[in-house]
Amino acid sequence: MKKQNQKAWFFVLPVLLLVAFNALIPMMTVVNYSVQETFGNNLFFWEGLGWFEKLLRSERFHAALGRQFMFTGMILAIEVPLGVIIALSMPRSGFWVPVCLVLMALPMLIPWNVVGAMWNIFTLPDIGLLGYLMNHVLGIDYNMTQDPFAAWATIIVMDVWHWTSLVVLLSYAGLVSIPEAYYQAARIDGASNWSVFRHIQLPKMKQVLTIAILLRFMDSFNIYTEPFVLTGGGPGNATTLLSIDLVKIALGQFDLGPAAAMSLIYFVITLFVSWLFYTLMTKDDE
């Protein structure tokens, strides 16, 4: 049982001030813009909830939101099972374990636009390794800048390359925390590999997998730099995800009102998921 102590607020105060400066002030700016119309020169007119109504009916927003959910759904469906499989087949101890972990974590430490640029170079049709292999060795017509399907496949593979290791590392952390005695007991009982997975490994990985799935959900839902550098949202609007569209409206066209309204709706969606996440996480603690 934790001690009740209101003085603890003093410990939290620095964080509170810093985050208030960084989060509250910008959020108020966004709210302010979302209800006004501007024609430049710092002239603002009251717009009420007009932007929200327009946005919720706008096909452009629906399309971007749809693409965003499709992207997030697809990478979760690939990365989570793949990550668990890789973690299960890793050795539990030995010299190679830290080496493997470091190599696996490497993609996550590369600046996001370098990731995009790297995959751009990698997939160039005639001079990139992947582009050359696809076009000249496998004979598949592959050009990401013209074919929407190829562009989609590439951003998905890039994200799998970039982030599957997160799932691997988390699942692995869960697996190594299982005492050897559990496996011995299972062997004595003559349990199959599947029932060892189902009744020993999976329950132990439950909490870390929750973290993994929800971290992946949120980060892929907010993704901007990598697909932007790789495809620029194209060809056409094929890979214009939610953040890319938002930055286009806010910093490209400087349409402050619609951009702010879009930001708030975007934020409410992430907030809802965060709440879900937090509830799931703390349920076990009680």
């Binding site: 209101q6 910008p26 087949s89 470091v102 430490l109 370098v114 951009a259």
Partner: protein, 265 residues
Amino acid sequence: MRKRSLIPLLYILFLLLPIYWLIAMSFKTTGEILSGFSLFPQTWTFDNYRTIFTDPTWYWGYFNSITYVALNTVISLAVALPAAYAFSRYRFLGDKHLFFWLLTNRMAPAAVFALPFFQLYSAVGLFDTHIAVALAHTLFNVPLAVWILEGFMSSVPKELDETAYVDGYSFPRFFTRIFLPTIKAGVGVAAFFCFMFSWVELLLAKTLTAVAAKPIAATMTKTASSAGYELGLLAAAGTLTIIPGAIVIWFVRNHIAKGFALGRV
């Protein structure tokens, strides 16, 4: 057992292929890159690297990035340590709500904050400074650091604190002499994550800087569009951005798995 280890091996191979390609490109001349496909550099050249190490607009990019990343790590840890201690040891009015509110900032899309941050930091006169980027990155790093540290701190039994008080330690002395050394792995992991997320983020860093504090990653995008399309140079600059991460991760290699689990395994 043999067949099983093939899966991680193939996976690592898949991870290394694009990285290999980037490194191979960085040693090729622009002429060779554009003239056609070659698996290895035919004529090795170090010109791309020479350009980066001699041209101030390039190497200052690295200094700028490392400066704001280091500042961010120090600030984030300094404010997160006491807060994490409070969350892990005490119950106080509104603690759960506060923790959740912190988390929402880790989850907010950076794109939402780009424009307001630009205006906020311009208004307080910090635009195009290292400290502006460092402070902006605390938005998602402080919640993460609090979260990781809280996880590590909660696995230390409370008896440690109580014994220290009985032994006559004051709080600051206890915290710095006994508690911090006990959770030093957690501090290392939190520092690593602050470093990592500040190092890889570009949207906010680019929005908040113009010349004086421009990060290396932004220098890359600018050069890519202005100086024609010098793929070799771009590849060399990209290769150099991998090195700091690779060095830092080696130090926390035994704790990263636990760190990603936010100390909650």
